[in-house]
Point group: C2
Chain length 298, copies 2
């Protein structure tokens, strides 16, 4: 089924998602505060007309912004879309947010007859561009149905985690806890290895075949070996996402000491001015403290 | 080439290693303070004669004990084998030890004309039994040559990490840092998930296909889902191995805060009387603190 889809947020994830929707033959409106991204997307095949003029014909709104504040603004701010959408259309919300925020958005959408899918994404910008994301989704049966064509265009796997918003965001929080800690401890182990005379190449070659490996280690350690900190996913993501994890944990009176220490490492990286570098740059926190040298880009 | 091999230590790893040597057609003497294990191994095909009566014909001594103290005792204690071994025989030392300890053992073996391979192992008891271990090895060319037939019998992969003892143990320390943290943070994430209504089964099904996965998560999380804490590898390993990591780090003025917090979780598990349970039982530390229930064995 072909849908009329609005993608709000054309960053590294949103642009790939919007492009994947185009490839599936949907009509796609791309929106972003960065006009260059919008223009680029129109050239790729995105619709030129103003979203407001077609808002009654929109089936799906994919919200691919950074956080809960931006999500709330695009949905319910002064220019928010929800109040304009036709009844039965669906919002697919992809940002990492607290489960209670997702529940609140679902409730407020319902007041306008708009369906809501709590649908955080995992997989990075390359998988976004290839329509191969993993989606941790929860929402009503109606929301899943209304979202199904769009989900099919952008994802390889949709985990159906429950019949109301919140469950998707809870699972995303669990995933981010692990992913963030795995990046930070990869940096801890790799730089510890350097202090013992083990080169990053030897580290990757050996550990990726041993019990100490992780998805993040295999994905991010090569960035350090190459001295390449072009942001595929930036340091700034982690104080935000691990902060959400710790807020949710605190509400549940759950103590997450490893997460807290990993967050401290990313915060130290931000303090060093590395916020916009690739998240593998957390290794620089360890290198500075131990006075060891990391590989430079050749 | 068939060797005469002594395997000292017939615990869960050593017994598998000795059995793998038997399957390759070597003559194998199994030694352990636990006579039941020795008897069992003789029934499997191990040699009955006293090691002392054949010590001149021994080519390889595989030391598969728990730690550096036991390693030093079997090599250089009152009944230590090194002084009795013929010149040109090789000690393959498999325990997780500090790199400097391995260097010292190599030096002391050399005084007796005995070769030494620093050869910590990774892979667990099933891979030990199947002759499929990963070995992080370093030592002289002569030591590698003398050890080659035995290594072939017990391992799938031998990482050759350098021409002197120490490098193997350094890489093992790096691997243990990661493996230990990954177990502890898996427990942190899985129990955090329970606090948010995510069952261990749903956790495993979803996260093992997402960016938050790790080798240890996929291997250990099912123990928690099954409520099965029969020790495949026990809690007690980790205060020891992460303690070695932190000692080595301290010597190198390297700060490893995530490792330290993970060690704290395993120490808390020991304090709860869980030292001899499977290391996945570190989840019980989190469950107790957050007052949540873990699955029981059915």
């Amino acid at each position: 089924m072909k849908n009329n889809i609005a993608v709000i947020g054309l960053g590294s994830m949103g642009y790939g998602i919007a492009s994947s929707c185009l490839r599936s033959g949907h009509l796609v409106w791309g929106l972003d505060t960065n006009i260059d991204q919008v223009t680029k997307f129109c050239k790729l095949g995105g619709q030129n007309s103003s979203l407001n003029t077609v808002i009654n014909d929109i089936d799906v709104v994919l919200v691919v912004v950074l956080n809960s504040t931006q999500t709330e603004t695009v949905l319910f701010g002064e220019e928010g879309v929800v109040k304009k959408l036709r009844s039965g259309s669906v919002v697919i919300s992809c940002a990492t947010v607290a489960p209670n925020f997702a529940k609140d958005m679902e409730k407020r959408c319902k007041e306008f007859g708009v369906l809501y899918l709590d649908a955080p994404i995992s997989g990075g910008s390359v998988k976004a561009a290839n329509g191969q994301l993993s989606i941790m989704a929860s929402g009503t049966k109606e929301a899943f149905e209304a979202a199904s064509a769009a989900l099919k265009s952008i994802s390889e796997t949709v985990f159906e985690l429950g019949d109301e918003a919140g469950a998707g965001s809870s699972m995303k929080a669990v995933n981010q806890l692990l992913a963030g800690v795995h990046i930070a401890v990869m940096a801890e182990a790799l730089t510890f290895g350097i202090s013992q005379g083990i080169s990053p190449e030897k580290f990757i070659e050996t550990i990726s075949k041993c019990a100490g490996t992780s998805w993040m280690l295999e994905n991010r350690a090569p960035h350090i070996a190459d001295g390449d900190y072009e942001p595929r996913s930036s340091i700034n993501i982690w104080p935000k996402d691990l902060g959400i994890v710790l807020d949710v944990a605190k509400d549940a009176k759950f103590n997450a000491p490893i997460t807290k220490v990993a967050l401290d490492q990313f915060s130290a990286a931000v303090d060093m001015g590395l916020g916009f570098e690739d998240d593998a740059a957390v290794a620089k926190v360890y290198a500075k403290s131990a006075k060891i040298s990391l590989p430079q880009k050749t």
